[in-house]
């Protein structure tokens, strides 16, 4: 098992934890956090591949993660604002109750 | 740490010489470890002492400003001589160590314990990248400035933990306020130093200090504070730093008259002392960063004063800044919550952004000489003074100068 595979396993474990959290919890914030975790797992993959890439000086993986972090920040801000908006509407943030958009 | 040329004055080399004398005999990996430990130890010792006397200085100065003597009765141990209350810090320390540690029953025990520890830990690790002297940088990081502020960002967490864990509405309110304030002022704080990085072309603290070497006309040092954008950045930085370290006039989270003692309400004894210490450490670290970024770091202000060792200059500047902090605390009244956030979002952030553009202009025009140099200064000044005046007018619109009915004007 090469170190890269260790890293990848680490990342997929993190991803799955995030996924399970997002799927099982009903609290919107926790769901969001689960998604953040999944995103982090992806970042982790980038860094791992960069770490073992033949030409790390180019730094593509690192750059990707930087952008990804920026986007994650945006996502978190908007997501939590949405949560607050939902809370204002239905006085709780249980996601299974926020289904008014259904067809 | 780089090799040190033997040509430098002895005083400049003294710390390294001392350390090498002590650890020179150790084999390589051990030597590194021991050296690091020594550095940590020295930093803790020096700044711990500084903290102690800073509390005293603050109390004395506040006292004098408020026309009362301040602490003056604590005798030195064993010899019983009262020397300006110089022993007060030690007395305080002994008291806080021996006091009973009270944890509320409903409190979140773990967090209640963790909060001061986390706070202190993060306050202390920020010291790692500050260049205290020409060769005195604990860790030379490529992204030193970033590290500093990343570590500093974590302190907010501790405040929240404290407020939350106490299970007390005042504490929680304080924590919320602290969070709002810290988030608000994090932005101008960061934006204030970005121009420096832009102009210096580096995130490394040592390189930033290096970039400020030299003198114009033989006496005006090339510190960034002596440029229009640098001055503006410095002022914004200091204001934001005041807010970040919860100091007056931004001390809303621990506003006694409103929130008892804010997130510290349920803390006593040693944990309280840790909080106290962490706050002062934070203040010292931010001042040190301000010095590094804007005030030329450890550099001497005048060419003929260069013989004084660099760490002494750093120390001098640090003390001046800290005394300034105390002075501000003694002078300004506390802001209201809405004023606080409005000031940050509607004034400091735009100003800092404009200042960033200003710095970009500055670095784009670095080749201008002669009369163009004057134009460059003028444009840069206008770029920052204009928005300052305009936004300031907007900010203070509708707020007339206060008239005191019974006071002679």
């Amino acid at each position: 098992m090469s170190p890269l595979q260790v890293c990848l396993l680490f990342s997929s474990a993190l991803f799955c934890i995030g996924l399970v959290g997002a799927l099982s919890r009903s609290n919107a914030i926790l769901v969001l956090l689960g998604i953040e975790l999944m995103l982090n797992a992806a970042n982790l993959n980038f860094i791992a591949f960069w770490r073992y890439s033949p030409a790390p000086a180019v730094g593509t993986g690192v750059l990707f993660v930087i952008f990804s972090i920026a986007v994650a920040a945006a996502e978190a801000a908007v997501g939590l604002a949405l949560v607050i908006a939902i809370y204002r509407h239905q006085k709780n943030i249980r996601l299974q109750e926020a289904n008014r958009l259904k067809g | 740490m780089s090799a040190i040329a033997a040509t430098e004055p002895f005083l400049e080399r003294a710390p390294q010489l001392l350390r090498d004398a002590a650890t020179g005999f150790l084999p390589e990996p051990w030597r590194w470890l021991v050296n690091s430990l020594i550095a940590i130890g020295v930093i803790l010792a020096v700044f711990g002492t500084l903290f102690a006397f800073l509390t005293l200085a603050e109390r004395k100065i506040l006292g004098r400003v408020q026309n009362r003597p301040g602490p003056n009765r604590t005798p030195l141990p064993f010899i019983k001589i009262k020397f300006f209350g110089l022993a007060q810090p030690f007395a305080d320390g002994v008291k806080s160590l021996t006091k009973e540690d009270i944890v509320p029953r409903d409190a979140d025990q773990v967090l209640h314990f963790l909060a001061p520890v986390v706070l202190l830990a993060f306050s202390i690790i920020t010291f790692a990248v500050i260049p205290f002297g020409r060769h005195l940088v604990p860790v030379e990081l490529d992204a030193g400035v970033l590290y500093f502020f990343a570590a500093g960002a974590a302190t907010e967490l501790a405040v929240f933990m404290a407020g939350w864990a106490s299970h007390n509405k005042y504490s929680l309110l304080a924590a919320m306020r602290a969070l709002a304030q810290l988030i608000s002022y994090e932005l101008p704080l960061l934006l204030a130093w970005v121009p420096v990085v832009l102009v210096a072309g580096s995130l490394s603290t040592t390189e930033i200090v290096t970039a400020q070497a030299g003198w114009k006309f033989g006496f005006l040092p090339h510190w960034y504070v002596f440029t229009p954008w640098g001055f503006a950045g410095f002022v914004i930085f200091i204001v934001a730093a005041l807010a970040e370290s919860n100091r007056s006039p931004f001390d809303l989270p621990e506003a006694e008259s409103e929130l008892i003692a804010g997130h510290l309400t349920e803390y006593s004894g040693f944990k309280y002392a840790l909080f106290f210490m962490a706050e002062y450490f934070g203040m010292i670290a931010l001042s040190g960063m301000a010095i590094t970024l804007f005030l030329g770091g450890w550099r001497a202000p005048l060419p003929f004063l260069e013989w004084i060792p660099s760490y002494a200059w750093f120390g001098a500047k640090l003390i001046v800044l800290l005394l300034g902090f105390i002075w501000i605390r003694a002078t300004f009244p506390r802001l209201r919550m809405d004023q606080l956030t409005r000031f940050a979002w509607k004034f400091l952030v735009p100003l800092a952004l404009i200042n960033l553009g200003n710095a970009a202009f500055w670095s784009l025009t670095s080749h201008w000489t002669g009369a163009l140099q004057l134009i460059r200064w003028a444009v840069s000044l206008v770029l920052i003074v204009g928005p300052f005046v305009l936004m300031g007018r907007k900010l203070s619109a509708g707020v007339a100068p206060r008239v005191y009915r019974y006071a002679p004007s």
Binding site: L19, L23, A98, K102, G103 | -
Partner: protein, 677 residues
């Protein structure tokens, strides 16, 4: 110090007053002194420069010194302008600038109470500058430009008291009537330009007044068998007739009296009306180019001569029946201008210019004198209400009398006599017809008669109104120019007596003066002296001997022949005639154009619009009733299907997330099992 001015620097002469005008326009209303000072100073400088130009011109009287330059390029060609210096230009410049200077100074006193004092001087400067521009131009185009500016300035000045509706109307009338002449002028310019390719008068052999071009113009025949040069000359004469108030277009001149008196003086003496005569004198070679042709219907100059003769007689006749002091003078100007045109027409342009110069001085003198009277008599202009002014207004009276005698042609001492004699002499020698001569002689009698009437009614007898009783002599600012002009009105005549025709010789480009005895042609001279005496005597008999008693008492002539005098007093009803014909035509055309727009074209458009609207209505009915039904059914089906599918949308986030995860798994499995690489 020898003062000279070469053609290159000739532009300074009009430029200085123009600058003064610009300054005047830009100073605030309160800047009376600077504006007036600038205007007068510029005029004095212009006068000095003109004297320098005269010195240069007299040194080489035969030369046409030019300075030509390109104004702007058009395509690969260019529009060229230039300055011209010859004795004609130089004499005219001296005259215009001198008279203008005096009139400006007079205005200081006359206009001192006016609120728009500053503006007045600004306009005056513009007026003088434009006139000087006409004089120094070596290009018909430049001349035309200045010509139009003269028109503008006269418009502004005649309408200077614009709050009076009469003044505003008079200004407009002056502009429009001269504009009619100018259109002919413009066509003449265009024609000339098109046929010669140049508008420069003298251009080293390529100018339009030089033999090459003239020969070509005279050789071509155009409309109605006219020579090309005749046609162009007549068109140009249209412009001259408009500006100089010649017969059909003279109607604006008397109305121009609505302006302040200095303006009248300027228009009638130095600037505006002189421009027409000057123009014909300037393009005289062109006008005369057809003289040698036989078999053409008419020569250009013949037309000029007859028009001039008609105008001379007409003006004199009408002047007899006018009661406004300024109107009398105005019609006398019309008459005198007729003389000048007559002179031009009969071939003696030199005599015309001589009369133009002398007339300028004594007419300026008369107008300023009239102005002095009016100013003293509190703006009373009706001679029936004046009277008895010779005592209180001694200086004015004396100078006015000199002017009157010069105009009437009192022999030997006065300049008017000599110049008029020269004209009559030339008319006598004209071979085509003697009718102009007789018209001129008749006008001589009439002139002497109405001028005597004017002086007698104004200055003698009793004061016949309250305004005329309390008069005081005006200040030196107004009297000194009068005295200076009076001196000139006498002295100038001696430059051109038949015995010593210095002026004529210089104008013709000769350096030697060939005088001949006064006795040559003395018969004619004697005859005209007798005629003058007759006129004076008649005037004395009718108006002087028995002065008018009251302002309402009837005019002796009017009681003798009421219908005639009334007809003359109404200016022979020219205004009414024009209003009934041209004015009505104009109104009709306007109404016609409006009608076309409103009903014919507009109606057509509206009809089309109605048509469109109707077809739209039809279309809509067809659509809604027929075509839409099928579409509606289809859409309903589509909507139902969509509704059915929309139930897959649960709205629960978890469900979506789960679907995504399962989809992901399926995808990965597909890739792996399908051996995706």
């Amino acid at each position: 110090m020898k003062m000279t001015l070469s053609a290159q620097h000739l532009w300074l002469i009009p430029a200085l007053p123009l600058l003064a005008a610009a300054l005047g326009a830009l100073t605030p209303r309160s800047g009376r002194t600077p504006a007036a000072g600038a205007a007068i100073g510029a005029m004095v400088l212009s006068f000095l420069l003109s004297c320098g130009a005269l010195a240069t011109a007299l040194a080489h009287p035969a030369a046409h010194a030019t300075a030509n330059f390109t104004w702007f390029a058009v395509g690969d060609g260019a529009v060229r302008l230039g300055w011209l210096l010859d004795p004609l230009t130089a004499f005219m410049c001296v005259m215009v600038s001198f008279v203008s200077t005096l009139i400006f100074i007079f205005s200081l006193g006359y206009m001192k109470d006016d609120a728009n004092f500053k503006q007045f001087f600004c306009f005056l400067s513009l007026f003088a500058a434009a006139m000087l521009g006409i004089l120094v131009a070596n290009s018909l185009l430049l001349l035309f430009v200045s010509w139009e500016l003269v028109g503008l300035a006269s418009y502004l000045l005649i309408g200077f008291w614009f709050h009076k509706p009469e003044a505003a109307a008079a200004a407009k009338k002056a502009f429009i009537v001269t504009r009619i002449g100018d259109l002919g002028f413009l066509l003449g310019i265009l024609w000339l330009y098109d046929s010669t390719g140049s508008l420069l008068f003298y251009d080293n052999g390529a100018g339009v007044l030089e033999p090459t071009a003239l020969g070509g113009l005279a050789a071509q025949t155009t409309l109605c068998g006219l020579a090309l040069s005749t046609a162009i000359g007549l068109l140009i004469f249209c412009g001259a007739a408009g500006k100089s108030g010649q017969f059909p277009l003279h109607v604006w001149l008397p109305d121009a009296m609505e302006g302040p008196t200095p303006v009248s003086a300027l228009i009638h003496a130095a600037t505006m009306v002189a421009a027409g005569v000057f123009l014909i004198a300037r393009v005289y070679p062109l006008m005369a180019a057809d003289q040698l042709l036989a078999g053409v219907p008419v020569h250009a100059l013949t037309v000029v001569a007859f028009i001039g003769a008609i105008t001379a007689l007409l003006g004199a006749l009408i002047a007899v029946a006018q009661n406004d002091i300024k109107r009398v003078l105005a019609f006398s100007t019309v008459s005198q201008l007729g003389y000048m045109m007559l002179a031009l027409g009969v071939g003696s342009w030199v005599a015309a210019v001589f009369h133009l110069l002398t007339h300028a001085f004594f007419k300026a003198l008369l107008f300023l004198g009239a102005g002095s009277v009016i100013h003293a008599a509190h703006h009373e202009q009706d001679i029936r209400k004046l009277g008895g002014l010779s005592q209180p207004l001694r200086v004015t009276f004396a100078t006015f009398a000199i002017g009157m005698m010069a105009l009437a042609g009192v022999p030997f001492l006065f300049s008017g006599f000599w110049s008029k004699e020269a004209i009559l002499h030339a008319a006598h020698e004209w071979e085509v017809s003697h009718l102009p001569l007789f018209a001129g002689l008749a006008a001589v009698v009439l002139t002497a008669f109405y001028m005597t009437r004017l002086v007698a009614e104004t200055f003698f007898g009793k004061a016949r109104s309250h305004a005329a009783e309390h008069v005081h002599e005006n200040s030196a600012v107004m009297t000194v120019p009068l005295v200076l002009l009076a001196v000139c009105a006498i002295a100038l005549g001696f430059l051109g007596t038949p015995a010593f025709p210095w002026l004529q010789a210089r104008l013709l480009g000769e350096t030697e003066v060939h005088g001949h005895s006064l006795l040559d042609g003395s018969g004619l001279m004697l005859g005209s002296i007798v005629l003058v005496a007759l006129g004076l005597g008649a005037g004395w008999a009718v108006y002087w001997r028995t002065p008018r008693a009251k302002d309402t008492s009837p005019d002796p002539l009017a009681s003798a022949a009421p219908a005639t005098i009334a007809f003359l007093g109404a200016r022979m009803k020219f205004d009414e005639l024009y209003a009934a014909t041209l004015g009505r035509l104009n109104t009709f055309l306007a109404a016609f154009a409006d009608f076309l727009d409103h009903w014919v074209w507009g109606g057509a458009v509206n009809f089309l619009a109605l048509l469109g609207e109707f077809s739209g209505t039809v279309n809509r009915e067809a659509d809604e009733g027929g075509l839409n039904a099928g579409f509606d059914a289809t859409s309903e089906k589509l909507r139902q299907t969509g509704q059915a599918y929309s139930h897959a949308q649960t709205g629960g986030t978890h469900g979506y997330l789960r679907t995504v995860a399962i989809g992901f798994v399926v995808l990965v499995l597909l890739v792996m099992l399908g051996g995706g690489r």
